[in-house]
Symmetry: C2
Subunit: 247 residues, 2 copies
Amino acid sequence: MNSTYFTRRTIRKYAQRDIDSDLLERLLTAGTRASTTGNMQIYSIIVTRDQEMKKRLAPAHFNQPMVTEAPVMLTFCADFNRFNLWCRQREAEPGYDNFMSFMTAAIDSLLAAQTICNAAEEEGLGICYLGTATYNADRIIEVLELPLGVVPVATVTLGWPAQVPEQPDRLPLEAVVHYEKYHDFTPDLIDSLYREKEARTDSQQFIAANGKETLAQVFTDVRYKKADNEYFSGKFLEVIRRQGFTF
Amino acid sequence: MNSTYFTRRTIRKYAQRDIDSDLLERLLTAGTRASTTGNMQIYSIIVTRDQEMKKRLAPAHFNQPMVTEAPVMLTFCADFNRFNLWCRQREAEPGYDNFMSFMTAAIDSLLAAQTICNAAEEEGLGICYLGTATYNADRIIEVLELPLGVVPVATVTLGWPAQVPEQPDRLPLEAVVHYEKYHDFTPDLIDSLYREKEARTDSQQFIAANGKETLAQVFTDVRYKKADNEYFSGKFLEVIRRQGFTF
């Protein structure tokens, strides 16, 4: 397999260089060849290239500079709208207004998204996923004029890298891979799996900069706080239901 | 980008040939290099190679023959268990028992899953996603002994292709790609986007074999019925909540 899988890193700074429309179309086509449930293709991809649209979307993404600096932004949506329209036009009554249908469409979207990212990186492009797509789905729906049946699940910025940051660490493979059955973690194993991560200079700086005692506290108390998670949970659940997936 | 993105098809028949452990480990490593929220790696991958385990998992996957015939099966799970254990061991109180945290972990899992699939296909392997991972998550949890905080979201069978089926059709790119804003579909546009699909010989055979009038009815009345979707919605919601993500 190509080496990009192993050398990749998220790119947040992009060169002032556009992405050729032919290349973009090839990437999108590659995405549509990804696995899709029952070949229903229950997703859509909204391409943002227009600077005005990027500015309108920026607040939904907490004004992260990538949004206005990247030449292309892709918003991947779970989408039963087109499929439902087709069904109704063909004397078929769709039954996709439920949680499982939302999940299935979300999975479809993410497989297409990641295929496009893998293909883009093989071409030398850099990508960055914005978690804000689910946090502020309501605002994105408004700006992109998404109809009933459509829910954003991932946004990716795409462009030519202007810098190649250090590759981030990953936990040892044993932290995420289990053979045959899930082997739960003893305190000693947790210590050993996280030892290297915790000893890194950047982790130490991260702890100090946030005035915390442990790296884990930077996650629980600063970056991904319970109150925020609960707030965005409520908001996203409301969006999913309002878009027609009831439960 | 490599041509596999465009020539790929789902493989459901595998040769009697194992997957080398080194190759499998390289694929899993590639997966762990995929984007992950805040570098938390909130997913796990359960590898099934043992024939007994495949047999025990088969009913959860409606006894589809791929499950026992593929040399390797991978179950991708949203996983906050390891992360929560680490937090608690480091005087940090995790706040990840909610819907947004489940979604974030599910997204992480699917990006790793699809990266492994793309890398595997580049190596000549064939893959098949089993939608049953979410349908029968309760049974999978039992067999794989998944603890609280862990929910299966995708299962993939992996092996060397024993056949190369015809490549399935896809809708024209305009069906899934929208530029700048979502352009909703007129009845004429729906007709034109689905014309080729509906005219295919296999679609016609599909309609006849199921005693239906339109291809859409095969989906709504046979393959993805409202009653089934609702049943599996309820079951999956219960599983997510029981595994500790409450909402």
